[in-house]
Amino acid sequence: MSPWWRLLIYLVAAPLVGGLLAGIDRRISAHMQARQGPPLLQPFYDVIKLWSKERLVVRRTQNYFILFFFLLTVFTGALFFCGSDLLLVFFALTLSGIFFVLGAYKASSPYSFVGASRELVQMMAYEPVVLLTAVGLYMVTHTFQVDAIVSSAHTPILLLPGLFVALMYAMEMKFRKSPFDLSMSHHAHQELVRGITTEFSGPTLAIIEVAHWYENVMLLGWLFPFFSTHWVFGLAATALMFFLLLVVDNVCARVRWDFALRSTWQMTLVLGCGNILVLWLVEVLGIVKL
């Protein structure tokens, strides 16, 4: 399939898949808590509702930042699914996150500030391991191009199990799941008010929600290359990982930001860097031929 077709499919299908995943997420979570849960299409109802609400702002400029957050999130996913450079995708992802934080800072409210600073801490926590993923995949497949990585003969998970575990650990943050839903949570709305999204309402909140769907699809895409031997296996494994994230979300309480930062870096250093070190050693010693 040509990259342009993939781009088009991504732009149209990602919000649908992302919204559906959010609905599945809420239903599965509800069942885990012995509840029935909302209808499967609830996230779509929410977004449609938000679109018809009034747009209250502290400063109007805060909405422009959110618009850029949305555009860059879509751009990040577009780069990824067009099979572009993994490093470029990573930097675009960072930039989109920064715009979200700037929007929250612009709203100058204490809850928004707390959410924004926690988001920054989270970014500090998960970015090393996400970048390390690109390094690991390069070592295995000798390319940063997503296209080439996915079509390579290797199954990276076999060579990068430690790195993958570290990545999954950090992914709880990116999916905004417990124990790391510090800056903005889907549950326990009371404790943080609503963290980073506190000051956004109506259509702007709807945009944040849709951006989050795009982001989730991109992040699941990020997990896919680890299992890319066969696309059915890859999809099944990615779905399993998504389920695993939900399980962890439902069995864990939220931790403090300092623990989140420390433990993520420890995981990154020990499992992530350790994995890459071992991979390098076995390659140098000639045990494995890459």
Binding site: Q36, H189, L205
Partner: protein, 301 residues
């Protein structure tokens, strides 16, 4: 279709309730009742909420909190008073510090009595509120459409509180431009406004019975008319309502040889509109160390 009926997000506030009703509100979130089945989420953030659930009688300490939460909720919104105390003040009605039910502070749409209220009644109350919510959304959508048919009338003394509220909302965007809340328009009191009313002509722009814009002007006795405090609600801006009001207020002074008004030096949109209406800058005067008033005039031929 708005989706409003399928995704009512609530915010729950305990206005000096005994906690009986509050526990029942939280009970409705538990597996036994699971209100998330209906898409109901307890948000804890007024800016995300559609339905305001209040329990308990309102007292002197938290009137302002109730008011604040209500004001921070985006339209369309509804208020549900839960329990006997919230509907009427209940057994605390006669207390010296209790101002009565929630409706003594904010408008209440649905009253759900009970002591303590049962979760079934809470769910019933919220579902009733949904109908009102939808009607309100339709009304707002209709008034946005109706902005083109805004009627312009002379304001009466009874309109002054609403005009003052409008002015304070409308001037927020000016305060934002200069990062300065000391603008005189934001600090006018009702008494000062009444004094203004006695010597000026006040015009109001009305859409569906709601004042969405206003302007005032007076003749200075030397042949020129001063126009001031042109205010349009943020939600209704960009629809040329301000220009229509300007034309109407100018028509109120057929004898005037020139019109004069002023705005801040960084209020680019205002200056642009006035320039288009034929006003030219003739002097500037500092208001404080970072705001300059730009005086503009238009000569009547």
């Amino acid at each position: 279709m708005s989706g409003l009926q399928k995704s009512p997000w609530v915010i729950h506030y305990d206005a000096s309730s005994c906690n009986g009703c509050d526990i029942e509100v939280l009970a409705s979130l538990t597996p036994g009742f699971d209100v998330e089945r209906f898409g109901i989420i307890n948000t804890g953030n007024p800016k995300h909420a559609d339905i305001f659930l209040v329990t308990g009688s309102v007292n002197a300490q938290n009137r302002i909190v109730v008011r604040n939460i209500y004001d921070q909720m985006p339209e369309p919104k509804v208020v549900v008073a839960l329990g006997c105390c919230a509907t009427s003040g209940g057994i605390f009605r006669e207390c010296y510090n209790v101002s009565g039910g929630v409706d003594s502070v904010i408008p209440v749409d649905v009253y759900v009595p009970g002591c303590a209220i049962r979760p079934e009644a809470i769910i019933d109350g919220v579902v009733r509120a949904l109908g009102i919510l939808e009607a309100r959304r339709a009304a707002i959508a209709a008034s946005t459409v109706a902005a083109g048919v805004m009627t312009i009338q002379r304001a009466t003394a009874a309109d002054l509180p609403e005009l003052l509220a409008l002015q304070k909302v409308a001037y927020q965007s000016e305060a934002e431009i200069y990062d300065d809340t000391s603008l005189p328009a934001l600090h006018q009191t009702l008494a000062e406004m009444t004094a203004d009313f006695n010597r000026m002509i006040f015009l109001k722009g009305v859409v569906n019975g709601k004042i969405v814009a206003s302007v005032r002007g007076y003749d200075d006795g030397k042949g020129s008319a001063n126009i001031l405090r042109l205010s349009v609600l943020p939600y209704f801006r960009g629809r040329k309502l301000g220009r229509r009001l300007m034309a109407a207020i100018e028509a109120e002074f057929p004898q005037a040889k020139r019109f004069e008004l002023f705005t801040g030096h960084r209020s680019a949109i205002n200056i642009h509109i006035y320039t288009q209406l034929g006003y030219t800058n003739f002097k500037t005067e500092p208001f404080n160390d970072h705001i300059e008033w730009v005086y503009m005039e238009k000569k009547q031929s």
